[in-house]
């Protein structure tokens, strides 16, 4: 039964993908990567939510709380909530940079600002390296869901099916397909988490209060954050919260959804409603503590949510919940791979072969998207890892673009040498700190690297001089008048 429901919903999602082609421009790179910058407020919100809440939310968050308790719940919710605030200011600037440069990928936006090809390649590589594991955890999450579907499906076969569906979305309509499928996915995901939470509250004697009273008695260390010594939890939690709040805006997926927006103000308004969607967390937190009390000692904490679902829900509901999770995995994997495919095509291959025709570029993008999906599926099958570790690692690297972005928006005196050196030092420090397992008062490793990155960016920038291209594009960025775009829209409407 569960499997039939999953199959039906996957079929429905493909139908949505086909429908999303309406209004699309065929074989245009701009349409595939940023939907020709045509999304209004509603679609933008759907894509934004779609890319923000990956399978990490449904599987990873309860897993982390199950294993580590409240400190993880606090930084998860804290960083996202703060991230929306940071995004209110940063996202419109990203949009402006994209609009003026005509960029389809994050790397192109930065290249334009300083007129630097080497910066473009560095950023493209950075995004590819730190996004690949992100695709991998989507598949790892998928594996866990399939395992608890109550039907003997081979793990590898399941993942390969998912890669095919993910590829179909992209092949059918580029970024438009994930946007529309998001609608279905978010509905199901929300439904899954609410159902999980409600079942738990109804089953446990004493409801919500009962669960936490029992948890406070049995696991007092997991219900509030231990503050002594400070370096055990608190320094990590607070530094990670601040660090990842900056990181949310630097996620290449954020750039991509921002680029699909119609105007600066559409992007800005979008941030207002983002915190409301987070009201699914109370339900997730409940499920995590419930499983902690009723099924302690799971070897893989990431299975907590699915254990709850498969043990407490009727088969058809398990199917709906699983379908929500599976769709989320596929969707985020599809979006990330499209992005990596785009970066490979536009910023790496495009460099060696400058005269790519539009059709060729589109085909190469599709090919590299397929390749990315395949590689990360293989990674997931042969290199299983805990989601939490990868979440951290991806942010360590991707957030290193934050100083570059701040320079792009605010600092006229920044130079391409400065930004390049800062980024290189930041990423190198990430690898040294992570590889050498160096720990400084428990502070987030990416945060320490970010400090080094920022200092180097400033010092090297001051030692060099901005060139003519940098000065010209900086002027264009500063003199852009968004109200001119408003007038344009009024005329068109």
């Amino acid at each position: 039964m569960a499997v039939i429901v999953v199959g039906l919903i996957l079929g429905l999602s493909l139908l949505l993908a086909v429908m999303s082609r309406r209004g699309a421009i065929r074989n245009s790179m701009s349409d595939i990567m940023v939907a020709s910058r045509s999304f209004g407020a509603l679609l933008l919100f759907i894509v934004a939510v779609g890319e923000t809440y990956s399978v990490g939310t449904m599987i990873g968050v309860p897993g982390a709380i199950y294993a580590h308790g409240a400190s993880y719940a606090i930084w998860f919710m804290g960083y996202m909530c703060l991230g929306f605030s940071v995004g209110y200011f940063i996202n419109p600037m990203i949009w402006r940079l994209g609009r003026l440069s005509g960029a389809l990928t994050v790397a192109e936006a930065f290249r334009w600002r300083w007129g630097s090809r080497s910066l473009e390649i560095l950023i493209a590589l950075l995004c590819i390296i730190f996004l690949l594991p992100w695709v991998q955890i989507q598949f790892a999450g998928l594996g866990i869901i399939i395992k608890h579907l109550g039907f003997d499906i081979n793990y590898g076969a399941g993942i390969l099916t998912a890669t095919v569906v993910a590829f179909l979305y992209i092949a059918i309509a580029g970024i438009r397909a994930p946007a529309w499928v998001s609608l279905l996915k978010d509905f199901l995901l929300l439904f899954a988490m609410v159902i999980g939470g409600l079942v738990v509250a109804a089953k446990f004697p004493g409801g919500v209060g009962g669960i936490f009273s029992e948890a406070a008695r049995l696991f007092p260390e997991k219900i509030a954050v231990e503050t002594v010594p400070l370096t055990k939890n608190v320094t990590f939690m607070i530094s990670t919260m601040i660090f990842q709040a900056m990181g949310v805006c630097m996620f290449p997926l954020t750039f991509q959804f921002v680029f699909t927006g119609k105007s600066e103000d559409t992007v800005r308004r979008n941030q207002i409603f983002m915190p409301l969607y987070m009201y699914m967390y109370p339900f997730l937190i409940l499920t995590a503590y419930f499983v902690l009390l009723t099924a302690g000692g799971l070897s893989n904490p990431d299975e907590a949510f699915m254990v709850l679902v498969s043990q407490n829900l009727p088969s058809w509901l398990v199917g709906m919940v699983a379908a929500g999770g599976i769709l989320t995995c596929i969707l985020v994997a599809a979006l990330c791979s499209l992005l990596i495919g785009g970066l490979l095509t536009q910023n790496i291959i495009g460099l060696f072969k400058r005269d790519l025709s539009s059709l060729a570029a589109v085909n190469i993008t599709r090919l590299s998207t397929a390749l990315t999906l395949f590689v990360s599926a293989m990674l997931a099958i042969y290199l299983p890892a805990l989601m939490l570790g990868i979440n951290n690692f991806a942010y360590f690297g991707l957030t290193q673009m934050f100083p570059a972005a701040i320079c792009a928006f605010f600092w006229s005196r920044s130079t391409k040498q400065g930004v390049f050196a800062g980024l290189a030092v930041g990423v190198a420090m990430v690898f040294i700190l992570v590889g050498g397992k160096i720990d400084i008062w428990g502070i987030n490793k990416g945060f320490i690297a970010l400090m080094g990155n920022a200092i180097v960016t400033v010092v090297v920038s001051l030692m060099t001089k901005p060139d003519a291209v940098t000065e010209k594009n900086n002027r264009i960025y500063r003199e852009y008048d968004p109200s001119a775009d408003i007038r344009g829209e009024e005329k068109a409407g």
Binding site: A70, A73, I74, M77, G78, C81, L82, F84, S85, V86, Y88, F89, P92, G207, V208, G209, G210, I211, F212, A216, I223, A224, V225, T227, V234, I238, M241, I242, S263, E264, D265, R268, R269, Q271, I272, F273, P275, L276, M278, Y279, Y281, P282, I285, D481, P482, S483, I486
Partner: protein
């Protein structure tokens, strides 16, 4: 253009104060809020306050489309006021 500082304070300042600076205060189990430990209740509350603050910040943001338009209308009617 009018100052953007009030918007910055509302959108960024308030959630930062509530989530980061108040940590020492809200990290406790009692009193419970709807059965949840206080620490969770606090953060759930912050989500709604964030929503209100970002919304209010946008309403008074001199860079939002509606306020740019308003400023321009003011300018047209001859009153003092500067568009972005």
């Amino acid at each position: 253009m009018k100052s953007r500082l009030p918007t910055v304070f509302l959108v960024l300042g308030v959630p930062f104060i509530l989530l980061v600076l108040c940590f020492g205060f809200y990290n406790r189990v009692e009193p419970r809020i709807l059965g949840f430990p206080f620490v969770y209740g606090w953060i759930f509350g912050c989500l709604f306050i964030s929503f209100l603050c970002i919304g209010a910040g946008w309403l008074i943001d001199p860079k939002s489309d509606r306020n740019i338009r308003k400023a321009r209308e003011k300018e047209k009617t001859g009153k003092a006021g500067t568009a972005a």
